[in-house]
């Protein structure tokens, strides 16, 4: 089936989210929609999926004009969507989730479970999805849950499959699996619309790349276009993908973590005897696949989680038993992994968020009285300094884009006196322009003599920033490497290979690591 969008325009009040967009997806093609956050990708797909009605323009299926008034119409027209946030019932099995809404019944009126299970198995086999129809969704890893969503669309006979930022939640390995599945679907004659802002992925999987900027199509390119060209199309100006930085000039040890162990209430060990040091003026990059104890390590560093044993010192002062506030006061700047959950109060204004951890100190407070003028002038200053794009400093921070929210956090954390910067996944979910900004600020901190610890699951980011790389696997540091280390070697360390095995390109991970 050939899908064509002609002159689609969609406005939200005075804002034109989609401006006369033309797009055609041929059968058996992967068509990537590339654009920054806010470029109008999701709006366009919601129009296509019947969630929004276009103000102008039409949708053509095999040359025939159609109107989708609801997702039901779109599904009937052969369009399937896998949302960024999955729409699954966690306590149902895979088969139950797949059949939800189109339940097949036997003549007696009872659910035909066997038929559904067969369908799932059949699709799973044909496209190499490897999903057990009887597994409970809540027990499945994110990557498999995504496949359940794909099966859901396939069962409903989707010939055009829309994947909205499908890799945002996946580990590198899961992403590779997804790409394999996409290729198989393509061979099966289905078309895929792949929405992303990640250049490398788009290059790897797409047959055609359409770049959106501010609601309009700014270009269509083949997948062999250079990364720089795609990035500048996307952002509208030349972008430096790799922050230029000089060699580090490490000073004295600032942050010293010795034999740190963190367990949770159930006794599970998340961080297991981790030791590392960060010196003034260097960036230590902590690489590792998500879920290997990085989150817990950061929380323990900030005092948000009790440490079972070990020691943490800052410039020789023992902070092991300090409260979060004492650590902040001691000079730790912290950029949490989940900015909306841990970094910001979404309903508070930008100005209030700028003082979220300094509101109780002069000049923002005298006694228990808040000094609103000082808070406002601080906000005005920081908004300018960090180029935060907001209508006003009084706007709720939740209305800002991800990149600007991250700028607010950076402005706050770097605005107070600090000796250490701990940043966890500092650019997760950000667009190219914002990543560049954040990376530049982090390198700037290093050059000012701050000891920087970056925790990231993105190898690109680790390579771009780190002066030294530590790899964490199942709560243990499997090795320290210089930034010149080949990616394969890092990959082995991230999969749990120990020092001796990874040094001479070892064949595979140890049996212990496979558990």
């Amino acid at each position: 089936m050939e899908l064509e969008l002609k002159g689609i325009t969609r406005r939200f009040g005075p804002l034109v989210a989609n401006d006369r967009i033309d797009l055609s997806v041929a059968p058996g093609q992967v068509h990537a929609l590339l654009g920054e956050n806010g470029a109008g990708k999701t709006t366009l797909m919601n129009v296509l999926y019947g969630l929004l009605q276009p103000d102008e323009g039409e949708i053509l299926l095999d040359g025939k004009s159609v109107r989708f008034h609801s997702p039901r119409d779109a599904i009937a027209g052969g369009i399937g969507m896998v949302h960024q946030h999955f729409m699954l019932v966690p306590v149902f099995t895979v088969a139950e989730n797949v059949t939800l809404g189109i339940e097949k019944t036997r003549r007696s009126g009872l659910l035909d479970r066997r038929k559904t299970r067969q369908d799932v198995r059949e699709l799973s086999r044909r496209y190499g999805l490897e999903v057990d129809p009887d597994a409970l969704v809540e027990n499945l890893p994110v990557g498999i849950q995504q496949r359940v969503e794909i099966i859901k669309a396939l069962v409903r006979d989707a010939t055009v499959l829309i994947l909205d930022e499908p890799t945002a939640v996946l580990t590198p390995a899961e992403t590779q699996d997804l790409f394999r599945i996409i290729r198989q679907l393509k061979e099966g004659g289905r078309s895929i619309v792949f929405i992303s802002h990640k250049l490398k992925e788009v290059q790897a999987i797409a047959d055609t790349i359409t770049v959106l900027r501010r609601g309009a199509v700014v270009g269509q390119r083949p997948p062999d276009t250079t990364e720089d060209e795609l990035a500048s199309l996307m952002v509208g100006r030349d972008v430096q993908l790799r922050v230029s930085k000089e060699a580090a000039k490490p000073g004295a040890v600032v942050l010293d973590v010795a034999d740190l162990t963190v367990t949770d209430e159930t006794g599970r060990v998340w961080v297991n005897g981790v030791s590392f040091q960060v010196r003034a003026g260097e960036i230590l990059g902590m690489a590792g696949v998500q879920g290997n104890g990085q989150t817990e390590l950061c929380e323990a560093l900030m005092g948000l989680r009790p440490t079972a044993s070990g020691q943490l010192t800052l410039n020789g002062h023992d902070l092991t038993q300090a409260t979060p506030r004492q650590r902040l006061h001691a000079g730790v700047a912290y950029v949490p992994e989940d900015r909306q959950e841990d970094g910001l109060v979404g309903d508070f204004s930008v100005a209030d968020n700028m003082v979220l951890d300094t509101y109780d100190r002069p000049p923002y407070a005298s006694g228990i009285r808040l000094n609103l003028d000082a808070i406002a002038s601080n906000a005005a200053e920081r908004v300018k300094e960090f180029d935060v794009r907001t209508t006003s400093a009084d706007a709720p921070v939740g209305t800002l884009s991800g990149g600007n929210q991250q700028k607010v956090i950076l402005a706050r954390e770097l605005g107070r006196e600090h000796k250490v910067l701990v940043a966890s996944q500092p650019t997760r979910g950000l667009d190219v322009g914002s990543i560049e900004f954040v990376h530049r600020r982090i390198v700037e901190q290093r050059d000012k003599g701050v000891a920087v610890l970056i925790v990231s699951a993105e190898l690109d980011e680790i390579y771009a920033l780190a002066d030294r790389i530590a790899v964490i696997y199942e709560g243990k540091i499997t090795g320290f490497r210089p930034p010149t280390v080949p990616a394969e070697e890092l990959g082995l360390l991230m999969a749990g290979a120990t020092e001796s095995e990874s040094a001479p390109a070892a064949p595979a991970a140890t049996p212990e690591a496979e558990q």
């Binding site: 650590r327 109060v345 979220l356």
Partner: protein, 443 residues
């Protein structure tokens, strides 16, 4: 999702747009324009007013169609339809008119005032007071509602749902009453001691809730509901044994009256019941506003209410704040109890707590958890309570009508979507009022 937010957010639109934003002032919006926008967009305040309106309409219909006279008139609908409609209208509106006369202003009292021989005698005989009596009664009824409403509103802002205003209020009543009759102090000092005692009595009960939540994670909704029962039966127990707080030489479940020195001073002479308790309530509302919006403590409370995990990461002590906020809330509810005892009742019996603690939830909900809103909502419900007796006497409408109005109002306030669809409002931008009800369980 992010793409949807994006276009609405000019921040993401790139440098050109932003530069324009900075240099160019927004064109001034006319008042009528903004009024129309606010109605169409369904701001929470609009929804509240429409919810009230709907509740009054529903209440009126209910009143009209449960009245036997009206029902008889409807029986003859086909022979005399005009009469049926008129009867229904008269009944519904008549009740509201009497309620208004009982709570705000009664023209008959003015007529009586002018029939007096001279202004001097009119004042002396209380005819002038009679004019202001409805308003005075409204304020008297509103006083405990405002204070107890604040006791629900403050924790709500901090993300806690305090169902326990009733229990805390009883705590305040017990202490205030005991200090009122049990000790002897000079005028002035005695009042203050009793009021502070009331605050302390409520604060202790609130503190227990906060402490339990902070130490064990016990959910405040469960704890406060259970403490309500504990306090109700504790009161009954205390009142049933002569050697505790029961008045001597009686078998009634009542305490001795408090000393005259412990009475809250009347504001406008002996004919009007309005007393200093009303000023205490207003002062507390102002104090809460200051605390929540102008102090570091309030900043912590609000952070906690909006995003507890971010508050924790920012170095705030979440547990300590839980204790503090429940202590303050309990104290406010205790004050509410003290004003009832010291302002109007002067003794404590096993029913003195009335429904203030439960009405308080309604008041806080209707007031959107904000101090000014609580004052307005408290005055509104105070007026309903003040007007109800006259309504019953004059029209035979049962006073329970007030509870129906209160209940339907809350129902509609808690269902903003219903109101929005009834009045075809666009979805509000900020979080709706409906969150209030579910919040306590999710927090």
């Amino acid at each position: 999702m992010s793409d949807q937010v994006g276009p609405v957010d000019p921040a993401a639109a790139g440098p050109a747009t932003v530069a324009k934003k900075e240099t160019e002032q927004e064109p001034p919006v006319s008042f009528s324009q903004s009024l129309r926008d606010s109605i169409l967009e369904g701001h929470t305040a609009t929804v509240i007013i429409l919810a009230l309106l709907t509740a009054f309409v529903v209440g009126g219909l209910l009143n009209a169609f449960t009245n036997t006279m009206v029902l008889h008139a409807w029986g003859d609908f086909f022979s005399d339809p005009g009469h049926a409609l008129a009867a229904a209208w008269d009944t519904a509106v008549g009740a509201y008119v009497e309620m208004f006369e009982g709570s705000i202003f009664n023209p008959h009292t003015v007529a009586a005032l002018f029939q007096q021989a001279s202004f001097g005698t009119a004042v002396h005989d209380g005819y002038l007071s009679a004019v202001f009596n409805p308003l005075s009664e409204t304020c008297v009824q509103a006083t405990p509602l405002i204070l107890a409403g604040l006791a629900v509103a403050v924790p709500y802002q901090a993300g806690l749902f305090n169902i326990g205003a009733q229990g805390q209020l009883i705590g305040g009543m017990i202490v205030a009453t005991y200090l009122g009759y049990g000790v002897s102090l000079p005028y002035g000092v005695h009042v203050v001691v009793c009021v502070l005692g009331g605050f302390a009595g409520g604060a202790v009960i609130g503190w227990i809730v906060g402490e339990l939540k902070a130490r064990t994670g016990a959910h405040e909704v469960i704890v406060t509901i259970m403490l309500n029962y504990v306090m109700v039966y504790l009161l009954a127990y205390l009142l049933s044994f002569g050697y505790l707080i029961q008045a001597p030489h009686t078998t009634d479940e009542i305490t001795a009256p408090i000393a005259g020195n412990a009475h809250l001073p009347l504001l406008f002479g002996s004919h009007l019941r309005i007393n200093a308790g009303f000023l205490v309530a207003l002062a507390c509302a102002a104090g809460v506003w200051w605390l929540m919006s102008r102090t570091t403590t309030g900043f912590e409370f609000r952070s906690l209410g909006k995003n507890p995990s971010a508050a924790r990461v920012a170095g705030m002590n979440v547990e300590r704040n839980w204790v503090l906020v429940m202590l303050i809330a309990g104290g406010l509810a205790g004050l509410s109890g003290a004003t009832v005892i010291q302002g109007t009742d002067f003794t404590l019996n096993f029913q003195s707590y009335g429904t203030y603690g439960i009405d308080a939830i309604t008041v806080a909900l209707l007031g959107l958890g904000r101090p000014l809103g609580v004052v307005l909502a408290g005055l509104l419900f105070g007026a309903l309570h003040a007007g109800a007796p006259l309504m019953q006497v004059a029209t035979g409408t049962p006073v329970d009508m007030v509870q129906v109005l209160q209940g339907t109002t809350v129902l509609f306030v808690a269902a903003p979507l219903l109101i929005r669809s009834m009045f075809r409002l666009r979805a509000a931008r900020a979080g709706g009022v409906g969150g209030v009800m579910s919040k306590g369980w999710n927090a």
